[in-house]
Structure formats: C-alpha cells, structure tokens
C-alpha cells in the first residue's frame, strides 16, 4: 500500500488525445508502460489504438509505431483515413511507422526451441527508425493461433512487455475479450499496469459502447463505466459524472415571447442561462410556446438551436405560420437552426454527443429540445436522467438558456417528469387541459421559478392566429371557467352590469326631474312673494305721494288764509296727524 501511495505521485501520464479519456484517467495512460485495451469484436480497440498514435504524433510530438498482426497496411491506411488521418503522408513525414506481421500456420513448422527475438528486432528497428515514443501492438494475441507453442509464446510476451518498458515507450496492446477472462489468452497477466475494457452492449435494440478502466496501477482513476462513442471524429468518452455545480449565473432576464407570461414571471421573463421545462399533455401548445420563445430569441438577435424529435423543420415552420410566426426568416438569417432526428436513431450517449457537437458548432444563446420525453425511447429513465443532467450542466456552463419540453400523459402526475429531472429545472411551466362544459381549453401555470417572484394564477393559454396569449381565467362565483364558458360568463356579467347601470340612470333621471319640479315650485313661491312685496312698496309710495299732496295742499291753504287763525290751524292738524301715525 505504501508503495502504491508512493507511485501515485510518481506515475507520469501520457495523454491519449481521446476526448474525455484523459479526463477520466487524470491525464492519460501510464507513461512508458504498456496498457492493455481489451474488448470484443468491433468494440473499437483498433480505433482506440489508432487515435492514441495519431494524436501522439500530431498533437504531442511523439512519433509512434503501429504493429498490426491482423490487418494489411492497405486496410490500415483505409481505417486511418476514415478518421481523417492520412497514414501514408504521416509515414513519409516520419511520424508513424507501421509493420504488418503476417504469419500463417500452414507455412510454419516447429523444429525445437525458439524465441521471438525476430519480433523484438522488428519492433526495435521501427522504434529506432522514427524515434518512436508510442507503440501499438494490434492484436498480439493473433500469435497464439499461429504459433503452436503457447508456453514459449507466453514467456516471450512477458519478456516483450518488460522489454517495452525498458525501451521507454508508451504502448497499447490490444486483446480480444475472453469468456471469463478479460482477454482470450490471459494477456492481462502480463500487462499489469493499466487495463481498459471496451464493451458494446445492446439494450432494447440500441447499442451503447462503454469503457471501463479495470486497472490503473499507481494512480487514482474513475471506476465507473463510461459510455463512449465512435463517430466520424473518432472516440469520445463522456464522463458520466456531472461537471460540477460551479457555473456562472446571470441576472439578465429574457422574454418568453409571450408578454403576459413575462408578466407572470415577475414582469421580466426567464433568467438568462436558466433551464426551463415546459410540461404538458398532447396538444397543449408546447411546440407553439417553444417556437414563440425561439422567435423572441431571434428577434433579440440571439442564436437559437432547436432540436426537434417529433417534427421535421419544414413542418414546424409551416405549422408555426398558422400562429403568425415567421420562423423561416430567422433560418435564412442564420439565427435559427433546426436539428431533427428520431430519438431511436441512435443511443442516448450519441444524442448527448450530437447535442455537444451541434452546440459547439453553432454556439447558440438559446437551446430548445422538443420534446425531451422522447429520449426515453432511446434508453431507460435513469439513463435519460444521467444524459440530461450532463446536458443541463453543460448548457449552464456555457450560459445557454435551455427550453425543454416534456410530453406528459393524462395518467401521469403533472408535477413529475418521467425522466425525474424536475430538480434540475429552474423554471417549470405546466400546460394542461381544462375541460368544462364539453369544451377543451388550455391552461398555463408556473409550477416553480427559482429566484424570482412569479404568479400563482392559472391562466388560460390562447393560441390565436396572431400568436400566443394568456388571459385570466374567470374565477367568480366559486368556479373557474375557460373558453366559451368564460366568454359566456363574461357576457352575462356584462349584461347584468349594463342592466344595473340602466337602473341607476333611471333613478338619477327621476331625481333630476323631482329636483327640477321642486325648484320650479320654489320659483313660483318666490314670484308670489315678490309680487306681494311689490304691492306693498307701491302702497307705501302711494301713501307718500298722498302725504305730500296733503302737505302741499295745506301750505297752499296757509298761503291763502295768511293769518293768525291760519297759524293756529296749522298747529291743530299737526297733533291730529301725530295721533293718526300712532294708530298706524
């Protein structure tokens, strides 16, 4: 144990250049030691070895020797070419040396003791010719079927691996899987430093390749089975474990494309770089909402990648025209990219790699998968979860807003996904059918939305030829109504409201009339009063005139009489007048 601990620091790594493998092995294969790569027929052993050599020669400046026991140099060149490597050209540049070891049992007769020094010499010559640092022996086990004496062969192979170590080359030895052992001839006994097992398994008619590091002496390594892929770019290993949770977050908000939905999400829409899940049963408008989101992203000038698992791009574009979305313009401008594939076209891991590849190539800001539930067809729920977890982590790392739709079935609980990814989701919208009075309508609500205020109201989701909209659901008189029932209820409410308004108007008119009548009465009384007052004034005036007249008459009389008598007379009526005044 102590020794191993010590080795742990000492083991130098030789990068393979195979995507993902160096990550699992913390740097690559053990440097200057042989590694056994075993697996069944067609598991990718030769490819593994070829990539190791090619990356070494091109990227790490380590020339390599490819010693093949099975394929002719012509076949080998073809195989390399299929990965985009020009073997003859690399050989002419002195980066790769090949040696095809061909032996036929019928040509060979054993006549006593022998060793494989010839092989050593050949390998040594090849290594020296180009100063190789990497060696591939593919598949050395072929010797077992051609050379009759297994005892000598085993001893010689043991010597070969020691010799390789002595030559300071990092070697890959491939071996065919045996029934119970890792390799048919027990090569793992000799190559004790690192053993990698490649495996291809078929579950539900879909093949998934897996890789496992059985042994890696003196170094910590991932012990899991890692799915890997072989495509036109070679092998990609995908660490099944997530990348981690330390991704950057954004406070920026982006519109969902539906104004009222943004309003429900605190008035601003989704967080940029968040993961949005849209669950809903069939025909609830998931694709329409996805397309609207895509459209709004393109309107902002962002790039949007749309993975369609159910429909072809042309069909989506055509269908979305019916709700007033012209997606074709964005496709033409290069802002929107569709990627359609049947989920069962290839395994889940392949899907993940396709996601990665297309994302790397297109660099979108918005990523839509419609629907993720179809991936279930390509694997089991835990596998889908694993793939989606890695996908979501990757997207978050890249700060890509992702919009995933999930087709739920009427029997399922709406608050769950079959892929069990709800905990990975930041904003979860739910579309559901509302069936009232023989009519089916769509409702939308927000199940959760991390980090923002969001409405708790169920809204009716309308798909119109002008686009999508949300309206408040009628919730008066204790029941929720949608669609025509809501419209009818609203009409009824409007009618009764109008009636009430008319009644009030009528009362107001009555009152007005009464007021007018009252005012008229007041006016009449005032007129009567005024008339009487006028009469009175008139009377006073007349009296005054009469008085004046009397006074004038008396003074006239006084003048006429002109005497004492007259003066005495004047005094007498004065008293008389005073008395009369008192009476009045």
């Amino acid at each position: 144990m102590v020794m191993e601990k010590h080795d742990l620091v000492a083991v130098e790594k030789c990068p393979t250049g195979i995507r993902g493998l160096d990550q699992i092995t913390n740097g690559g294969l053990p440097k200057d030691r042989p590694t056994l790569v075993c697996g069944g027929a067609g598991s990718g052993k030769t490819l593994f070895a070829m990539e190791f050599l090619m990356h070494g020669a091109i990227e790490y400046g380590e020339p390599g020797v490819f010693m093949t026991f099975e394929e002719t140099p012509q076949d080998l060149a073809k195989n390399f070419y299929s990965l985009g490597f020009d073997l003859p050209e690399m050989m002419s540049r002195g980066l790769i040396e090949t040696d095809h070891v061909s032996i036929t049992r019928s040509e060979i007769e054993e006549t006593g003791e022998y060793d494989l020094e010839g092989l050593f010499i050949r390998l040594g010559a090849a290594i020296d010719a180009i100063g190789a640092k990497r060696v591939v022996l593919d598949t050395i086990e072929a010797l077992f079927s051609e050379l009759p004496n297994a005892t000598i062969l085993r001893a010689e192979l043991r010597r070969l691996f020691l010799w390789l170590k002595g030559r300071s080359v990092t070697a890959i030895v491939t071996g065919e899987s045996g029934d119970k052992t890792l390799t048919r001839y027990g090569l793992e006994e000799y190559v004790a430093d690192c053993v990698i097992l490649l495996d291809s398994r078929i579950t539900g008619q879909i093949a998934t390749r897996r890789m496992r590091i059985v042994k890696y002496r003196g170094a910590a390594h991932g012990a899991d089975e890692y799915p890997f892929l072989i495509d036109e770019d070679g092998i990609s290993v995908l660490p099944i474990t997530s990348l981690g949770l330390d991704y950057p977050v954004s406070k920026e908000r982006i519109s969902s494309g539906v104004h009222r939905l943004d309003a429900m999400l605190g008035g601003k829409g989704f967080f940029q770089g968040s993961t949005i899940l849209l669950s809903g049963t069939a025909g609830t408008g998931k694709t329409s909402l996805s397309a609207t989101f895509a459209d709004s992203a393109c309107r902002r000038g962002e790039r949007c990648l749309y993975f369609a698992f159910e429909e072809s791009p042309r069909q989506i574009i055509r269908n979305m025209e019916s709700i007033g979305l012209d997606l074709d313009q964005w496709v033409k401008k290069g802002l929107l990219k569709f990627h359609s594939a049947r989920p069962t076209l290839y395994g889940l891991e392949m899907h993940l790699v396709t996601f990665h590849k297309v994302i790397e190539a297109f660099r979108p800001q918005v990523f839509i998968v419609d629907p993720i539930s179809n991936l279930i067809d390509a694997g089991t729920a835990p596998e889908v979860k694993s793939v989606l977890t890695r996908l979501i982590d990757y997207l978050k790392m890249k700060k890509i807003s992702s919009f995933l739709t999930d087709l739920t079935h009427s029997g399922d609980s709406p608050e769950g996904t079959r892929e069990e990814i709800s905990s990975l989701i930041d904003t979860w919208l739910l579309l559901r059918d509302i069936e009232i009075k023989g009519e089916r309508n769509r409702g939308l609500y927000i199940l959760k939305s991390r980090g923002m205020y969001h409405s708790n109201q169920l809204q009716e989701f309308l798909i119109t030829n002008q686009g999508l909209d949300l309206v408040n659901i009628y919730t008066g008189s204790g029941e929720a109504l949608t669609g025509s029932a809501r419209a009818a209820q609203e009409a009824q409410e409007r009618a009764s409201e109008m009636e009430r308004r008319h009644e009030a108007d009528r009362i107001r008119r009555d009152q007005e009339r009464k007021r007018k009548a009252f005012e008229e009465k007041i006016a009449a009384l005032r007129a009567e009063f005024d008339a009487e007052s006028q009469e009175l004034d008139l009377l006073a005036e007349e009296e005054k005139e009469r008085q004046q007249f009397v006074t004038e008459e008396q003074s006239k009389m006084k003048e006429l009489r002109k005497g004492k008598l007259a003066a005495d007379w004047e005094k007498a009526p004065k008293r008389k007048l005073n008395g009369k005044k008192k009476g009045a």
Partner: protein, 113 residues
Amino acid sequence: MKRKTENTVAEEFEQSATRLNPEKHVLILYVAGMTPKSTLAIDNVKKFCETNLQGSYELKVIDLYQQPKLAKGSQIIATPTLVRKLPLPLRKLIGDMSDTQRILVGIDLKPGK
C-alpha cells in the same frame, strides 16, 4: 513466344520450373545474434543439409541484429527461423532445428504427420 494458348503457357511454366533444378534448395537461416541457440541452429541446419540435400542446396545465414530491416521484409518474428525460398511454396521452420524429422516434413522431403 507468339500465338500461345493458355495450355502452352501452363506447360511452359511447368517445364521451366523443372528446368530450374527441382533438387536445388535455397535456404536462409535467420538468427538473432550468436547465442548458443543460434549456433546450435546453424550447426543443426548445416548437418541436416549435408545429410539430406547433399550439395544441391544453398544456405545463407543472416544475423538479424546486423540487418534488422530484413526481419520485416521476410516476415520473421521467431528466431531461429529457417526459410525455404525454393522450391516453392515458401516454408518457414522455427526452432533450433534439433528435430530432424520435423525439418524433413517442413521442407517437404517427407510427407507430414
């Protein structure tokens, strides 16, 4: 050489093959260094040739350490290897050549097994 039918071509080939000395054996012994195994093999082959081929043979001994390139060209992996170049077909015998019976079978001087 003109107007040859397929038949005559085949016949001519047969004739020339026999003309090329059917008895003559061209043998190459590949060894790796002058190890005891190598010397034993060389001795054994020489002895064998003297007894069984009596003069109608040509033996060449190649040390692969001296000419490593030849190992690839002649498809040698085991040492010592005795290659019978002629008569055709090509035969390879591996080992220290201590089993004379097997050499006889190996270079078609005795029917095998």
